[in-house]
């Protein structure tokens, strides 16, 4: 279980995250949505242990989280140019040297499933294929949590669908969780257990997807529009 308590983050004078308390259990796929600038990326970096909160605490299995806990969390950054001078295979070798939990075998299997040519330099690949290579490298790690910042952004629907299938196929919901931010809510909704909506650095809504449908007769997209409009401060 990852637990955030009263987490705040400032960038210079600007408050990026305000008093966020959330918990992320094992065995779920959790979506984080919100407009641009709502604090999604910062929140994910804090969860992944890459940035430290200014205030508040974050704990993993009741241990206070710091950079060394990155070992328990695989982070997929929202960056297109990602070790562009490597081929996908070289990227995997590099990951293997950095993370003891990385399995080249699994990464190659995911890459094969996603149909990535692993011998081509990343900078020579299409954007869609770079997205796939990045996903394969992330899923090659065997960690309790996968934290993914916009894994589907800027990719066409076919690529998005194959990435979604890769997520289902290569994670184990008995022992792992995925926390991901996305703008493609309509397509991602069927794989989410719960959705967290951020606005101006605050959590304005959080619910189970099936509960949302059952209680409000709305899908995630219309529910998010509704809560975003309602809760303006």
């Amino acid at each position: 279980m990852i637990q955030l308590q009263h987490v705040s983050y400032n960038y210079q004078r600007q408050e990026v995250l305000k008093d966020i308390s959330l918990s992320f259990p094992i065995g779920q796929i959790i979506g984080i949505a919100g407009e641009n600038g709502s604090g999604k990326s910062t929140l994910l970096k804090i969860i992944a242990g890459i940035q430290r909160p200014r205030k508040g605490t974050i704990s993993l299995y009741d241990e206070s989280l710091s950079r060394r806990h990155a070992a328990d969390i695989a982070y997929l950054p929202d960056m297109d140019l990602f070790y562009s001078f490597y081929t996908t295979k070289e990227l995997f070798t590099f990951y293997a040297s950095q993370f003891s939990d990385f399995s080249i075998h699994k990464a190659l299997e995911v890459a094969n499933f996603l149909e990535v040519d692993v011998d081509v330099k990343l900078k020579k690949l299409s954007k869609g294929n770079r997205g796939r290579a990045k996903m394969a490298a992330t899923l090659g790690r065997n960690t309790a949590y996968y934290v993914m910042d916009e894994p589907f952004s800027g990719l066409d629907p076919i690529v998005r669908e194959s990435l979604i299938k890769g997520l289902i196929r290569y994670t184990n919901m008995e022992e792992q969780s995925i926390i991901l931010s996305t703008h493609e809510l309509h397509e991602v909704e069927p794989i989410l257990d719960q959705l967290i909506v951020l606005k101006q650095g605050k959590v304005i809504a959080q619910d189970d997807l099936e509960t949302i449908r059952f209680e409000t007769n709305q899908d995630a997209v219309s529910w998010m529009k509704y809560v975003t409009k309602e809760k303006v401060n």
Binding site: G27, Q28, I29, E161, I164, K165, I168, R169, M173, P190, I191, L192, D193, L209, E210, R213, F214, N217, Q218, D219, S222
Partner: protein, 129 residues
């Protein structure tokens, strides 16, 4: 196998109903239409979740629901199978029939039609077949 009818990779869902209950309906339909026969082995939870592009937890809930409805049996180490007790499937048929008709009657009432005029139309449709 489950979902044989759909060539499309991912199912599309309506927004007003939980995804798990839409999947339960789809599988019930496949059983009633005979696409799924008594004794047929169903896909594993993970296989089915890949096929319809839905979270594993959601599919787990679907399988639990089907088992509670008595439509499937899980054999340890072998997987989940469509029940071979025809009585249960017959039961589902009857339930489904009544449910559909009840919904139909409710929507007729909501638009202010009388049962009589609807029956007339049904008869006319049947005759013109």
């Amino acid at each position: 196998m489950v979902g044989e009818g759909g060539n499309e990779m991912t199912q599309h869902f309506t927004r007003d109903k939980p995804i798990y209950s839409q999947l339960v309906d789809i599988i019930c339909g496949d059983i009633l239409k005979g696409n799924l026969q008594p004794g047929d082995k169903m896909l594993s939870v993970r296989e089915y979740s890949l096929e319809v592009g839905v979270n594993v937890n959601t599919v787990q809930r679907v399988y639990k629901e089907l088992e509670m409805m008595g439509l499937t049996d899980t054999k340890r180490g072998q997987g989940t199978f469509i029940t071979t007790e025809e009585g249960r499937i017959q039961h589902l048929r009857e339930d489904m029939k009544v449910e559909l008709v009840t919904q139909f009657i409710q929507s007729i009432a909501a638009f202010g039609f009388s049962k009589e005029e609807i029956i007339q139309i049904l008869q006319r449709k049947e005759e013109s077949k």
